[in-house]
């Protein structure tokens, strides 16, 4: 196992290197600059700005700088938010996104698996239809519409929650729900479908014929194996959700990290683009690794290549 993880770490480093390289060149190819606006300023000033932020260096020097930045995990000063460092921006906003993201993950996993199991147990009966309808609605109504609706009706009309902001737990409920519901719908559908596959497998029939109850079979046997595709989906999803959602943060005015992924690009704020990308990549690559490790924990038949020898 350790050997396998070590091998994967090497691949993670390679992947990270490719991500930085690709992002760097995409960034440089994209028209615009962090200082562009409809109001032009003299070229001399632009030269000074470029010099100030090292943008006057030839591309390979800049490229090298980003690589060095990544290794030392210090991405430098934001080009848009004057006097603010990329590291500060990330470290201030990430805990907020993380909190919200974890809440959303718990909601979506709980809700999703519950709906999925119910649907599978009562296959093609009313509870299945109900659960499936909820799941499909969740999948087909995107979070930005859902967030707007919930904010207008639940927070404003019914006054159950604050409209926006980030000042305590009750501020996080609506945004967490808005993030969770789409994913919950998908998790429910995945769980349902793989539960159905398990439901007809021999060991489940065996357990049932031994007299075990419907639910205890679910909990002891089928769910565990049915979770494979769900876990596959959860890995990258977690990486995405804990680093924040641009739209949700925008609608609920939450000072999270998600917005920086988008605004740094529209601002061409190169240092922040690189910082957030590397940060997200590391989380994603490790989340995917965790998924692979979980596979073999859940299903010992799955062997991780490289683990043995």
């Amino acid at each position: 196992m350790l050997r396998y993880i070590f091998k994967r770490l090497v691949y993670i480093l390679i992947a990270l290197f490719i991500i930085i390289t690709a992002t760097f060149f995409l960034m440089k190819l994209a028209p615009g600059s962090p200082f562009a606006s409809e109001r032009d300023f003299p070229p001399q000033i632009e030269e000074q700005l470029n010099a100030k932020y090292g943008l006057d260096n030839p591309w390979y020097i800049q490229y090298k700088d980003y690589l060095v930045d990544t290794v030392s995990f210090d991405f430098g000063e934001s080009m848009k938010y004057k006097g603010r460092s990329t590291n500060d921006i990330i470290s201030e906003s990430f805990p907020i996104s993380l909190t919200l993201g974890i809440e959303a993950m718990i909601l979506s996993i709980g809700l999703g698996i519950f709906l999925g199991v119910v649907a599978a147990l009562y296959h093609n009966k009313f509870p299945d239809y109900l659960a499936s309808t909820i799941a499909v609605l969740g999948i087909s109504v995107p979070s930005f519409i859902l967030a707007g609706l919930m904010q207008y009706f639940l927070a404003f009309k019914l006054d159950l929650f604050p409209v926006s902001g980030w000042k305590g737990f009750n501020y996080s409920i609506l945004p967490a729900l808005a993030i969770a519901i789409t994913h919950a719908g998908f998790i429910a559908k995945l769980t349902r479908s793989s539960m159905l596959e398990q439901a007809n497998s021999d060991y489940v029939k065996m357990a049932r014929s031994k007299g075990l109850g419907k639910w205890s079979v679910v909990i002891r046997h089928s769910l565990r194996n049915a979770l494979m595709p769900v876990i596959t989906y959860l890995g990258p999803l977690t990486a995405g959700v804990v680093t924040g959602s641009f739209i949700i943060e925008q609608i609920f005015a939450i000072p999270g990290l998600g917005r920086h992924f988008v605004t740094s690009i529209t601002n061409r704020d190169y240092t922040v683009i690189m910082g957030t990308t590397v940060f997200y990549s590391i989380i994603l690559l490790f989340a995917v690794l965790v998924v692979d490790i979980l596979y073999s924990v859940i299903d010992p038949r799955i062997k991780l290549k490289g683990a043995k020898k």
């Binding site: 994209a30 028209p31 615009g32 600059s33 200082f35 562009a36 606006s37 409809e38 109001r39 032009d40 300023f41 003299p42 001399q44 000033i45 000074q48 700005l49 010099a51 100030k52 938010y81 004057k82 006097g83 603010r84 500060d88 921006i89 201030e92 906003s93 805990p95 907020i96 993380l98 909190t99 974890i102 809440e103 993950m105 718990i106 707007g148 904010q151 207008y152 927070a155 404003f156 604050p162 409209v163 926006s164 902001g165 980030w166 000042k167 305590g168 737990f169 565990r224 925008q250 609608i251 609920f252 005015a253 000072p255 917005r259 529209t266 061409r268 979980l294 924990v297 859940i298 010992p300």
Partner: protein, 553 residues
């Protein structure tokens, strides 16, 4: 099986614990910021002696350094915490940090005598602070993007562009309280400029001691305006508190201003409806299109003229757009009033010239053209087609470019349909991401492109100057005209204000006969406020000075 089950359970347990820890960690951090902002958002606490105002801005201000700030959000906040030599009251320039302003006969030398004013830390505001701030903006290494607004000062442009020296700047500290400024040309709007953010002073000692003094609120953030920046949660909120050391503190009514950062217009409107904020609108946020009609019905929507123009520029280097008659046809065949009544809804006024009616001397319609003059447009189109050697309008292929925004898209579709039905011209819409779009404009890689222009100072020159040569970075049309350039030059050295306006009007007339630009409408500023908020009015530059605002519940 059993064993791995246990392992799984342990993993899950560990995971839950980690998650829970994170979660609480996140929550525990909150109270710190909570004290600052939640108290304020409840209306009741405002009764207890302190007056609080709640409002929202669109985003985190990118820079709270007066000399480095470029955007309107930063500017809207900076105006409350700093004060220039002059400031505005009811749209008129009044003395700010300066007590007395003397102008030489030729309009070239301004002598400012400062008030006995103090910084928020108790230090005296000196002429040196102003000179330091202005020089900071002009120093090439500091790369201030707005430095050009200081160019009317003698030697400023040369120094800023690396051709002159700091000694030759027309900024002279006569003594602690006297600042003497020499200008390049008589600039009749110079006292408007001194109220602009780039002309604000900064506290020299702290700025010299700490290079990034402006990145956080607190000890190092020292201001000379009516308010101090008491708290700044990045991307979250800002809190302004009354500056006890401000010279006119007795006349500042609001004790505390809570500024939330809310990007979504819909959310901001809901917050206003829910009573979480007391004011919504320019210059801090925008009143969403969705609620304009409702606020109008409720009779709370305030509409004020704004010195700004929305326009379509033509790329005159393009084969088709190079034809003045085609440009004329397109310009005339825009139903501006229809657009304003049905799409933009803000009671903007149809732009029939290049200088907004909010600008002094340009209040009257000069009669360059009629709104939606389809007859004339058809005639011009006919001529244009002949000149291009085309038989029919359907042979024209025109691309209308704009940057990504629902509002721009709606306007473009409205105008597109007008051109199609009235002139028979098929227009394709080309929408691109903001920076890609800017790139297209500067490289003249477009045919018709939208742009807005907002005045920094309320003078016609700011609207006309950009077309003085094809090389002007703000021209973007490739158009130039020797006579036009000459008129603008003359206006710069003209000391008689009436004559100067006359020259600028002549220049405008040239623009409106060659149509490098199709003016569409003059902006208005929209805002709503709760009825207990008093004196919160916008001037024609879209400024709100919270200094004058009061709350009476």
């Amino acid at each position: 099986m059993k064993k791995s089950n246990l392992f799984l359970m342990l993993m899950l347990l560990a995971l839950t614990l980690v998650l829970a820890a994170c979660n609480f960690g996140g929550e525990e951090e909150e109270p710190a910021s909570e004290d600052g902002s939640t108290e304020g958002s409840t209306e009741e606490t405002a009764e207890g002696g302190t007056k609080e105002l709640n409002l929202v801005v669109t985003s985190e201000p990118p820079s709270m350094h007066p000399q480095l700030a470029t955007d309107s959000t930063s500017s809207a906040v900076l105006k409350q915490i700093y004060e220039g030599l002059t400031t505005y009251k009811d749209g008129e320039v009044v003395e700010g940090a300066a007590e007395k302003i003397e102008t030489s006969e030729d309009g070239l030398v301004y002598t400012f005598t400062l008030r006995d004013a103090k910084w928020s830390n108790g230090d005296t505001v000196t002429a040196e602070d102003f000179a330091y701030a202005w020089t900071f903006a002009l120093t090439p290494e500091n790369a201030s993007e707005y430095a050009s607004i200081l160019y009317p000062i003698k030697g400023a442009q040369a120094y800023n562009l690396g051709e002159g020296s700091v000694e030759d700047l027309g900024i002279k500290v006569v003594d602690e309280k006297t600042l003497e400024v020499t200008l390049e040309n008589p600039t009749p709007y110079f006292l408007e400029l001194t109220a602009f953010k780039t002309y604000f002073p900064i506290h020299k000692a702290t700025a010299e001691a700490n290079e990034t003094w402006y990145a956080e609120a607190g000890e190092t953030y020292i201001t000379n305006g009516p308010y101090t920046l008491a708290d700044w949660q990045h991307s979250g909120s800002m809190t302004l508190e009354k500056n006890a050391n401000y010279w006119d503190a007795d006349n500042v009514a609001i004790d505390k201003v809570n500024i939330g950062m809310v990007e979504s217009e819909a959310t901001a409107a809901t917050m206003f409806d829910a009573g979480e904020i007391d004011f919504l609108g320019a210059p801090f946020q925008t009143v969403a299109l969705d609620v304009i009609d409702r606020y109008k019905q409720e009779g709370i929507l305030n509409i004020s003229d704004y010195s700004a123009i929305y326009m379509y520029k033509f790329n005159t280097t393009d084969e088709v757009m190079g034809n003045a008659n085609i440009r004329k046809a397109l310009t005339l065949a825009i139903d501006r009033q229809g657009l304003i009544d049905n799409i933009t809804k803000g009671e903007q006024s149809p732009a029939l010239g290049m200088v907004p009616t909010a600008v002094k001397g340009f209040e009257e319609d000069a009669g360059y053209m009629k709104d939606n003059d389809v007859e004339e447009a058809k005639k011009a189109l006919e001529l244009g087609l002949q000149e291009l050697g085309l038989g029919d309008a359907s042979e024209l292929e025109i691309k209308l470019s704009f940057n990504t925004s629902e509002a721009h898209a709606a306007i473009a579709q409205f105008i597109q349909e007008g051109w199609r039905t009235n002139l028979g011209i098929e227009v394709t819409l080309d929408n691109s991401e903001w920076q890609v779009y800017l790139d297209k404009l500067t490289n003249l890689d477009y045919q018709v492109g939208r742009l807005g222009w907002i005045a920094d100072y309320n003078d016609a020159y700011t609207f006309l100057e950009q077309y003085d040569s094809a090389e002007n970075g703000n021209n973007d049309t490739g158009w130039e005209n020797a006579e036009y350039t000459e008129l603008l030059k003359q206006s710069n050295s003209e000391t008689d204000p009436e004559k100067r306006i006359e020259l600028l009007k002549q220049a405008e007339a040239i623009l409106m006969s060659e149509y490098p630009v199709a003016p569409i409408y003059y902006y208005t500023n929209l805002s709503v406020k709760k009825d207990y908020v008093e004196n919160m009015e916008l001037d024609q530059l879209g400024n709100v000075y919270l200094k004058y605002v009061d709350i009476n519940k």
